[in-house]
Symmetry: C2
Amino acid sequence: MCELLAMSANTPTDICFSFTGLMQRGGNTGPHKDGWGITFYEGRGCRTFKDPLPSIESKIATLVTDYPIKSTSVICHIRQANAGPICLENTHPFTRNMWGENWSYAHNGQLSNYKEVMPVKAHIPVGDTDSEYAFCYILDQLHYEFGANEPDPHVLFQFIAKQCHKINHLGVFNITLTNGKYLFTYCSNNLHWLTRQAPFGKAQLIDAELTVDFQQHAGENDIITVIATQPLTSNEQWLKMESTEWILFHLGEKVLSGRGI
Amino acid sequence: MCELLAMSANTPTDICFSFTGLMQRGGNTGPHKDGWGITFYEGRGCRTFKDPLPSIESKIATLVTDYPIKSTSVICHIRQANAGPICLENTHPFTRNMWGENWSYAHNGQLSNYKEVMPVKAHIPVGDTDSEYAFCYILDQLHYEFGANEPDPHVLFQFIAKQCHKINHLGVFNITLTNGKYLFTYCSNNLHWLTRQAPFGKAQLIDAELTVDFQQHAGENDIITVIATQPLTSNEQWLKMESTEWILFHLGEKVLSGRGI
């Protein structure tokens, strides 16, 4: 399997603290050593750092830990390969363009018989993973449903949730998906989240000897939501998502959610 | 303006030496301090490091200098902004997917009236540059000409060259474009290249006190072509491309070329 990490914030915020915890799970405190990647949105642009090496051994991961890139939307993934060999084209996150926006996506889980059930035509995968294939399928569905016109976010993300429910029937489908403005999460069986806002407190990582006092770092009006497969801190209240639950975050806040039926 | 750098090789090769020279021109020996980026292909995958900071001040550029990533196809760009503000979405290279391949592109030059002459529909730019717009235009033309079926490389790159000739009438259009397997260059007014192969010799950078003896590093059968806006070394024979000349490289070798008429 794999682990996911994502952030939505109302002010550009770095993710060094959470990433420091997660990267330990890529070969040290966890078995997810088949590559890792992280995508930061800054304005309409985004940049991805990725490496097929274990995060714990990756010089690029060390740079990301030490170099605070401030963003309002981040998604991150550490991989334990099941479908597709360990190589760059199978390393998440995946990014594609749609409606003049960068869309990025990462997946934790495994799908069966997906090629038979979900044909793709307009968006062809580069690598071999079920994950990238499912992303291409979602983009294809958006393309055929809405064409050149991006719909209202309510319509758009309800439609995306519907696709996720469909895909979820083929296996395990925990995902994070963002266009930089909105961050969408779908839970098949394993996702947690929490929102940090005033009054801020201290947080202690589970996977490393590191504590941060957010009162020293965050502004009074900051709202920062972190999503992770498993809680990253030992002294905060993480909310566990339900199976088939999806949540849409915007500027750190939950703005829309639902469940499969 | 900006400067371009690219490499095509028949064996995975790092570009640390050439990049060390080029990055000096991003704020030290040259004025191209409005961001930089580099895309490495490894197998079917690619990864891009980019920063809106001057390369000479960028910690990410320092990592790229020190960390030898081996690739058979690389494109790189340092920016001196003319169209579009300094920000991540306007930072080259740009990467998009076509036919299940990653296509990456960088541009040096400036275009006028391009929106009137070159409408885009299927590929919408994210940022504000004439450069990204022209890339979207080329992809649109490929999409409408060939649909879902990637043509033979001869047909494909002759068609791309034809689009470049058209775009070149709107200003200055020096570009590098790659799908990882083939590296295409179009010269409007300013591009140089050289091929290194046995017997290998020493090379001395123009922009930094650095000499490398390729005989110590390269294998006997290695063929490595480097393309750059301006020569990067002082003691090698760089070939200057003609105006409207285009060259296609494959595994380090020139395999096709032509001129506008």
